[in-house]
Amino acid sequence: MDTKKFVIKQISVFSENRPGRLAAIAQALGEVKVNILAFSIAEANGFGVVRALVDHPQKAHDKLQSLGFNIAFTDVIAVKMKDTPGGLFEVAQILGDAGINIEYSYAYSGKGGAVLILRVDQVDDAIQQIQASGATLLERTLFH
């Protein structure tokens, strides 16, 4: 099975934990007309990592890099959820039963429904197991 079409390129940006850093990143993306579809901030004491799904990851990468940001691509996958009570439980249970270890995850819900974004250890494995368990993965073309 071709798992590649489910692998989504997330951008991850290292950021110091001080006022104005998120604004600087967001402004830069706005300037090159990159749209942010979902994003989260993970913080540790003193620094953080901004993670975002964008419509043009390469453009975002180049722009932020040119500004001196420490930026990398990370492979993530996106699972469709029902946007109703119990929707997350359904997906989480499938992942748990399949023995998939989540490194981190974040979610959004909007007009296209609810989506859970996952960073896992073994991407290919996870994709196959999620599909086998009956949950729906979103293709990368939906994002970029």
Binding site: S15, R51, N70, A72
Partner: protein, 433 residues
């Protein structure tokens, strides 16, 4: 192995110390009798020449500082007459008023002898072509090495600094085997040579660099040696001691401080108390035979360790290992002396972070709190917080081991720390604000 002064260079330690004691004793008598400056200083310290009964009694004598030379500008503490002086050198005065150093003929001879011994210990001599690319003039570097090189019978190519392309042409055409300059100028020469299509290792006869007049590191030594295909030796001195004076020998393991010329002490910069060999402290030197401007217990302000073991080359004079920092840069954190240069050295060995850093010291309750901000390298960035925490913990661990004091490390974005040449701006000491 060739020695310039075998009798002195291989003299057993006990004999060296007897000789140093005699030289010290006569120096102190002479100054107490003839120099108002030293006389007053010794009176203030309540010490008389008769109190010097063994070599370690040097500790009873007052220290001298750079400010003593500035305060007595230009020549108030000279102990030679105008007729006896044969040369002046003047320091640049970048950190204050310039200082003037005067020399008698004997002073110049002693200086030249010191360099002749050092160059011989590297294995240089007749047939070598020594390119002196230190500045000639008021600065001591050019003329000091010039006379030393001539003394050993080498041929001097006195290029001084600047006009780098011509320097490289002459180096090739006249077959320079040795270059004397600052390490940073040699790196510059290497870059210019590359642009000219000249490979210093292959297209010249250059084999040796005698480098000093600015702080440099072992890492820079490896880089220079590998890149340019030469052996690089450290040379040390200051104008107050005459100029560049002491070089490493072929062992490249610290510079030999000739015992008949200088009495070396390493002291605790805070208390002035002497430290044991191997302990890090302030280099303090008494020049035992200078006539025009004797220096007793001169506190140079450089931090280093001394090694009093006989060198593998057989020379018995104590060695000082590479200068590690300046006293002015020293921080005292919870009673422990910390030098920004130690942090720099440690960071150089950790590939995940850059070499730029900033130290922030605060007082939290009764305790000093030190934070070191370092830049995370682009290649080491991981999307996982856990990996980043591990990098941070590793840096903290390594710094703690080398400094013996607890350090909090903060990872910052690459390029975000200020770039400064001097050390001073790297430290934000909020305890004094």
């Amino acid at each position: 192995m060739v020695l310039w002064d075998p009798r002195i260079e291989e003299m057993p330690k006990a004999d060296l110390q007897r000789m140093q004691y005699k030289l010290l004793k006569s120096l102190v008598y002479r100054l107490y009798s003839f120099s108002p400056f030293y006389h007053d200083r010794m009176k203030e310290q309540n010490v008389h020449p008769d109190d010097i009964r063994e070599l370690s009694d040097v500790r009873k004598l007052p220290f001298m500082f750079k400010r003593d030379l500035r305060d007595n500008y230009p020549n108030k503490i000279f102990t030679a007459t105008k007729e006896e002086l044969v040369r002046y050198h003047v320091s640049s005065g970048t950190t204050g008023k310039p200082t003037v150093v005067g020399y008698t003929q004997n002073d110049l001879d002693l200086w030249t002898t010191s360099i002749a011994r050092g160059m011989t210990s590297i294995g240089l001599g007749r047939g070598d072509v020594i390119q002196v690319s230190y500045g000639y003039g008021l600065f001591t570097g050019g003329l000091g090495l010039h006379y030393g090189a001539e003394r050993i019978g080498a041929t001097v190519l006195p290029t001084s600094v600047g006009n780098t392309e011509r320097q490289i042409e002459l180096m090739q055409d006249l077959g320079a085997t040795v270059i004397c300059c600052t390490p940073s100028y040699l790196l510059h020469i290497g870059e210019v040579a590359e642009k000219m299509g000249v490979n210093l290792g292959k297209d010249t006869q250059l084999r040796t660099g005698i480098l000093g007049a600015e702080p440099w590191t072992e890492k820079m030594r490896s880089r220079i040696e590998e890149w340019l295909g030469i052996k690089a030796y450290d040379i040390y001195g200051t104008s107050e001691l005459s100029g560049p004076m002491f070089t490493e020998c072929a062992e490249q393991n610290g510079f030999h401080v000739w015992s008949d010329i200088a009495l070396t002490e390493i002291i605790d910069p805070k208390t002035g108390e002497p430290l044991e060999p191997g302990e890090k402290g302030e280099v303090t030197i008494t020049i035992l035979q200078k006539e025009a401007l004797p220096m007793i217990r001169y506190r140079i302000g450089d931090i280093a360790t001394m090694d009093d073991e006989v060198c593998a080359c057989g020379r018995t004079a104590p060695r000082i290992h590479r200068i590690q920092g300046r006293v002015d840069d020293m921080l005292i954190i919870r009673g422990i002396n910390v030098f920004p240069s130690q942090i720099e050295h440690t960071l150089m060995t950790i590939p995940e972070v850059g070499q730029h850093f900033q130290i922030v010291v605060e007082r939290k309750g009764a305790l000093d709190d030190m934070r070191v901000r370092v830049e995370l390298n682009k290649e080491s960035f991981s999307d996982k917080i856990d990996d980043l925490m591990k990098i941070r913990q590793n840096v903290e661990h390594r710094l703690r081991n080398s400094l013996n004091v607890n350090v909090d490390v903060e990872l910052v974005e690459p390029g975000s720390l200020p770039r400064f040449e001097g050390k001073s701006k790297k430290v934000i000491d909020k305890r004094s604000m």
